[in-house]
Amino acid sequence: MSTTIASSFLTDHNFRSVLYIVAFSLFIYGLSGLTGPKTAVRGNRIAAVGMGVAVIATLLVDPLHDIGLIILGIAIGTAVGVPAARRVKMTQMPQMVALFNGVGGGAVALIAWVEFRTSGGFADVPTYVAIFSVFAAIIGSVSFWGSNIAFAKLQELIDGKPVTIGALQTPLNALLGLVAVACGVAIVAGQHDEWLMLLLLVSAAILGNLLVLPIGGADMPVVISLLNAFTGLSAAATGVALNNTALIVAGMIVGASGTLLTQQMATAMNRSITSVIAGGFGGTVEAAPGAAGIAGGTVRSTSAADVAIQMAYARQVVVVPGYGMAVSQAQHAVREMAKLLEAKGVEVKYAIHPVAGRMPGHMNVLLAEADVPYEQLKEMDDINGEFGRTDVSLVIGANDVTNPDARNKADSPIYGMPILNVDESASVIVLKRSMSSGYAGIDNPLFVNPKTSMLFGDAKGSVSEISEELKVL
């Protein structure tokens, strides 16, 4: 094995370091391509090339050990990863990302564990290596288990509603965190017993489970991007421990971007990251089913034919998609309807709330899949000024992000959350399966607004019916 292609130049330590610099430059250059839809595909591929360069660089050691095992690992990973990525439906994208994120965190934790085992419990390495490895082990383990729970919730393998153990939750989480950190401190301070490392990994694992279990569906975008940041930071810590610049830079970039995204998501919901983590949003607020709020008006239901007529004679229609559109896979039907409307001279736009769906930008991906032109997808701040001159707002399976209580009712759990001001448009049509409340478990006065009419039924079915009616108009 040792005398393969490896010449002394190729295996020179500095040459490898240069390749790592090339690799992370490609990551940064590639990611900066993601700022626009035209350059994004290329950007992603450039980053992938960077990854290839980095992997090749690691193999340029002489002698090269265990190449068979390395190939085995890569082969298994490819055999699992490629079909999964090829087959996944766009609606299932959030859980796919959660799963990929989880295995990354798992790899970090495993590597830290092996480092511990092969260095006599960090006995023969500098202290800082022990510190960063312990950090990587804790965060990696939390991220692995947390992501798996997020996956299971989104895939509906377990109940998507918050699962809590009541008042014990916070103290228990704190205790688990404390145990993990205490083990870490003991290891860094010079304890070499392996059970300390195992206890650290296990308590971090349980913590990962308990952190994500109480989190309801609507908070998932925040959690997924937070876990993404976690895995990035743990990869960076692994990089410091292994003295590998490519790992440090790549991990930190992900850590920073994940943190930034998490903040943006939390701001978009007017909630702090800590309150999201504290969880239980969907479960605790529905004690009083808000009879006062919604009983004040009556719900008017309408028919597909009426909706079609109303929209056909509108100047501007704004579609407001939410998780309901994703669930019923209605994006293609929506696009079809929009084409029919456009053929009648109606201007169609899409208003995308930052936290609509189950991950940041979820709705955009679905609508892009249905070939909705990128220019028609409007962010909240851009579209909110336009509702005033919109004739019809068509709300498809969105609820909390249109709830006027967020503006008006100071004691509402979502008070202060920026919303799409659909109630400013001349009329509102809400497609909804039933009168149940959204994930936040709160009533939406929009539904009893005199301007609003409801079209009950599966979103895809309803939209297709509207299209049929539009065709015969």
């Binding site: 298994i76 990929f100 990869a235 960076a236 971007s257 991950m359």
Partner: protein
């Protein structure tokens, strides 16, 4: 070495923040799955420990093979999924879109 690495760490954090803050909301899902793929770079850690012969014993090697497999799933899956998503954002040539519209009727 540690100080140099810490300097790189901090600078990379700022670079990441600067690059990512320019990405529009619309592209947040591909951004997330793209960065998700990038942290799969931890696969390098597993490869390095194996390639340098740092790990001996069946358990150590088995754990590292799993780590490499996990990291590879993260990298390969992440980049592929991102590619699929981004392809959809690319504007199609106009005739093609209209041809699709005809098909749809």
């Amino acid at each position: 070495m540690l100080v140099t690495n810490l300097a790189i760490l901090v600078l990379a954090g700022f670079v990441g923040y600067a690059v990512i803050s320019k990405v529009p909301n619309t592209l947040h899902t591909p951004l997330m799955s793209g960065t998700n793929a990038i942290h799969g770079i931890v696969v390098l850690g597993g490869i390095i420990l194996l390639a340098e012969g740092a790990a001996s014993g069946t358990l150590n090697k088995a754990l590292l093979v799993i780590a490499v497999a996990f990291g590879t799933i993260n990298v390969v899956g992440g980049f592929l999924v991102t590619d699929r998503m981004l392809e959809m954002f690319k504007a199609k040539p106009k005739e093609l879109v209209e041809a699709d519209a005809e098909d749809g009727k």
